[in-house]
Homo-oligomer: 393 residues x 2
């Protein structure tokens, strides 16, 4: 039941599609970038137009001689991004340039298992279809909160996703939506989102640090996700901060996640509540404390909460400083729920990284908070699948 | 005074040259790999033969039909590798397949400055020329023991190379040898040496850890050196092991190099000498102790020396474990002078990495000692420059 494939026939066509994904251009501009003869360029664009992937779009402004014809991606192209979080599911539909046409999300517990959760995601997409946003998708990219075998498109022993181990997510979504699908972990999708629409648009080598319940890192090398030998690259939550630290869920002591991340912060806040009237009240009211409570307390100037954030930021910064010395990124973006603790956290991270990393590696290194918000993951999903669809088959 | 350029005219020719660098092949085999039509392949090979870069080499064994013609790189191709160490200079001349035809080295203090040291290197190459190993070089790759601006081919503020800051090494060597030249740091050249002729021949993503006077890391991604935003990627000597550790030359405390590497090991050995009759005797005889003395003592079963190596290995392993979790390499190779401490060191490194890194990242991860010895750097130099010469101009 798959549709006729719409993938480009060769590497030149693939390059043209990826260039047009960043916006329509004149034939003259495209010719400059891809270094094709005018005849060859015309031939490749005609082929893409015949495949309904590209269409003419009027004349460009003159560059001196004859005005060059504009081309752009077909406005009928549609990609879907599906971002499955620990406690939420988000979907979005974009056009070929990955502009979000519609976005929907709702709370959802990933522990309900793959059948129930994917049903929710497909239902949300169905609503966007009913709104007339698409009839046929050209590809779907899916993020899940755990390790993934990228080639197979299945989660692999994901710690917080009971029932998902080796569930054929890619295959099921591809069948249901009748389009190519790919699955990656949520942190890699955040990095792709930043690469396409966020602070990393002009950056080839950067790190995206997600500080949520756990802590992970998306690594972009030369404009592509670096996944490592077994797909676990960027899994930095269990890097050692200190041998004498708290015991971690992994069985070691002093891992980064044992010091910081949503779970550790909630634990530390509960322990510190007797010293903070605000936290003590929240604990009495709600029965438990979360990272959000610590953030709210810090916003009100609660010194205990500020101290908790700074301590966590310091330990995280110690690990990030090592990664900066090793990887020498052009940019480091901080994202995720705990990152919403904001500038207190950012200041502490920056302070440690700038002090502990090599000066040569930090001389031009911005460390910034993500500005993309909730759509980073779904946009990353559409970037992932469009990279695949816009490559030679 | 530059020779006529011999670089390939297009990407297909470049790919063919890089394939032939690994040994002669039949036209049929080449056609399979590069996916060119037979006519186009013949045209590109004819062009390379006309440029004296490639030559026919008889007929291949039959694959069923007509026997295909063999081709190989011209036996007249010559590359030079120059490996400048802290206390030595090594040169080698290879053919186009990077087989070492001649190798020469001598002690040399890098602190004598660039003019004196490069003179020594060029003299050594002159001797190889006088032996008839070459008349004209097609390229030279140079390694230096410090940070390098790769694009400019100059050392940048190298801590142990007084007088070398921004000295035009690439330009001078290129002029003197009348061929293209490139400069990189010595650790990256070791990694390229392993990629071409060592344990990493079939491996695209690996780390080469050099433990010498200092500690550095060569990072290979997708078969190429990853250098980072400002060229300092892999500079792991100042990653934090512990806040309470020894003060480092960089001004921080507890850096890896403050715990291990040749300088730290010599310092610790001097401190421990009163507890070791062997080390005490060596200290009395020589006035100072080196990493080599510790190795010799360990070989004789001296428990104090074994303890020093294990302690250093443990601290190094703690940093490497973090890099393995982050980078998920396919292979980790240990090289450099201190690496000659051998299996006591290797056992400790393995023990810590396998215990502290993510199981998913270490499941198939070999950690091995380099087997290339003194030629790794010079072979890496020829690999570096041949990658450049065998690319489209």
């Amino acid at each position: 039941m798959k549709r006729t494939p719409v993938r480009p026939a060769n590497a030149h066509q693939a390059t043209l599609l990826r260039l047009l994904r960043d916006g329509g251009r004149s034939r003259a501009e495209l010719g400059d970038v891809v270094e094709l003869s005018r005849a060859k360029l015309t031939q490749e664009l005609d082929a893409l137009i015949a495949m309904s992937l590209v269409q003419p779009a009027g004349l460009a402004a003159s560059r001196g001689g004859r005005r060059s014809g504009m081309v752009r991606l077909s406005p009928h192209l549609r990609f879907a991004g599906i971002d499955i979080g620990a406690t939420s599911v988000d979907v979005a539909v974009t056009d070929g340039e990955l502009q979000v046409l519609g976005h929907a999300g709702e709370p959802c517990d990933v522990r309900d298992g793959p059948v129930a959760v994917l049903d929710r995601a497909l239902d949300l997409l169905g609503k966007l279809r009913d709104q007339g946003l698409f009839t046929q998708l050209h590809g779907a990219g899916i993020g899940v909160p755990g390790p993934v075998s990228f080639r197979e498109g299945v989660p692999v022993a994901p710690p917080i996703m009971p029932g998902w181990n080796r569930f054929p997510v890619k295959e099921i979504v591809s069948q249901e939506l009748r389009c190519p699908a790919m699955v990656d972990n949520d942190v890699n999708l955040l990095a792709l989102g930043e690469l396409h629409a966020g602070l990393a648009r002009q950056v080839d080598d950067f790190l995206l640090i997600k500080i949520g319940t756990g802590i992970g890192c998306g690594i972009v090398v030369d404009g592509k996700i670096y996944r490592g030998a077994s797909g676990s690259a960027g899994d930095i939550g269990h890097i050692r901060v200190d041998d004498q630290g708290p015991t971690c869920t992994c069985g070691n002591t002093g891992c980064l996640e044992a010091y910081f991340g949503g779970a550790a912060l909630a634990r530390e806040a509960t322990r510190a509540a007797p010293r903070s009237p605000y936290l003590a009240q929240r604990l009495a009211d709600g029965g438990r404390l979360t990272a959000q409570d610590v953030g709210a307390a810090a916003d009100l100037g609660d010194p205990v909460a500020v101290r908790l954030i700074r301590d966590g930021g310091r330990h995280t910064g110690q690990v990030l400083a090592g990664l900066v010395s090793f990887f020498n990124p052009s940019l480091m973006i901080i994202a995720g729920g705990v990152a919403r603790l904001g500038h207190v956290l950012l200041a502490e991270l920056r302070s440690v990284v700038y002090r502990r990393s090599l000066p040569l590696a930090t001389g031009n290194l911005p460390i910034v908070l993500s500005e993309l918000g909730d759509t980073a993951g779904v946009i990353g999903g559409t970037r992932l699948i469009s990279d695949h669809v816009f490559s030679a088959g």
